[in-house]
Symmetry: C2
Subunit: 256 residues, 2 copies
């Protein structure tokens, strides 16, 4: 399946599952759309917090066809959206054409699904990936460096591994800098302010096995926690796990 | 006083105070020197944590004359050095020529002294600056995003302000991105894991007044906490407050 085929199937509604296994050689991205008057602050927030918020592309005001996916339409091609008003989740529509305007600026932010395929290829298959589940994601108490009106806690994704595999896991994911790179922490959820691993804030609960050590990566859902913490008047994002499939391949971003 | 005059006076030992008020139009920088085999990891740590560790310049292995200061010598021109062995402060020499080798890689990292002059010019004179003291600096419990063998907590500098001034303070410092930019937090030292404001880990204790709110910025002493936390076999840094005076002026780095 090409990236364009994946986008067409999502747009048509024939694929409704998380996008992880679609077009695995292609970079997937988180979507964040804000009003033009917030765009400079969001760009600054990403620059100051590049591990959870690595920018793949910032579009011009009003634009919905990114340079990284010719012919695509960000208003329809994710299939699952979240619309936020005054920091509160207000709607979860299937497309956002009716909400679009010249006042909106879209950002595409890197996604850890990028390196899950590399982990699998290295024999370090992520648990959620093997089980066909969505990855578990958690709001931490690690504060981002704020930017203007934007602030909030870092969100992380989690993959359990045996202790003996962690250095290899770090090495495999390190080059994927635009996909969050190597882990931010492992072994101690409480150090990040995560109280209960079995109750993630986004995605599916993890399936844990004996000897598992939780390994945490920066996550592109972080801007959604920023929208809430900062009471952003209006924003559109993807539904966690339902990513935008770009035409980029991993080595376009310096890895893989 | 030109930047070159300041460096010459420091080298000659005729200036021994913190460098803040020297050549105020010039960018000052933190120094971190590691063995070549750690250089890629230190560069990655800085890229992943640009708020505390904004890179002004990475030199070639063995080099001690930076591009940002013609004729300077990083081995003599700071006047106060710290030599670290196995993560422990081992010596505090006045120059490090005898320790230099082709195996060492020097990094210059941005410093908040850069914006103190801008704050003063805006009528928001930092307290330590008005009193001729060194800025207080604290190790936090906010973890950096690790990079390979390097990890550790963020170090912050602190300037007290009245609540009504904080948004102006944020706005003045925001453009100085290579000098840590706007604050990372304010108002709640405990949220950063700082137990006692009156006992900083580096610099001079603050002089607090009624109504003061502590405002915290990322700090280029952070790599020194990384050297300790990561048991780096060998490193050289500056003494906190005794910075390298570059030939760069603030607008070379996009601000001021």
């Amino acid at each position: 399946m090409t990236a364009g085929d994946a986008r067409a199937a999502i747009r048509a509604g024939t694929i409704a599952a998380p996008t992880e296994r679609l077009a695995p050689e292609h970079v997937q991205a988180n979507l964040v759309v804000v009003a033009r008057e917030y765009a400079a602050e969001l760009a600054d927030l990403c620059a100051r917090n590049p591990v959870p918020c690595p920018v793949v592309e910032q579009l011009a005001p009003g634009a919905f066809e990114p340079r990284c996916a010719a012919g695509a339409d960000l208003r329809t091609d994710l299939g699952r959206y979240r619309v936020w008003r005054d920091g509160v989740l207000a709607e979860q529509p299937r497309d956002v054409r009716a909400l679009w305007s010249q006042d909106l600026v879209a950002f595409l932010i890197g996604c850890s699904f990028t390196f899950d395929h590399a982990l699998a290829a290295a024999g370090l298959v992520p648990r959620h990936y093997a089980l066909g589940r969505n990855v578990p994601m958690y709001r931490t108490r690690v504060p981002l460096a704020p930017a203007g009106r934007l602030r909030g806690p870092m969100v992380v994704s989690m993959r359990p591994y045996q202790l003996r595999d962690i250095e290899r896991v770090r090495a495999v994911t390190r080059p994927y800098r635009v996909g969050h790179g190597e882990p931010v922490a492992w072994g101690d959820p409480e150090a990040l302010g995560i109280d209960d691993l079995l109750r993630p804030d986004y995605g599916d609960p993890p399936v844990l096995e004996s000897g598992d050590v939780p390994v945490f990566w920066g996550c592109g859902v972080t801007p959604q926690s920023v929208i809430v913490a900062s009471n952003v008047p209006f924003a559109i994002t993807h539904e966690p796990g339902h990513m935008f499939v770009t035409d980029l391949i991993h080595r376009d971003l310096g890895a893989g």
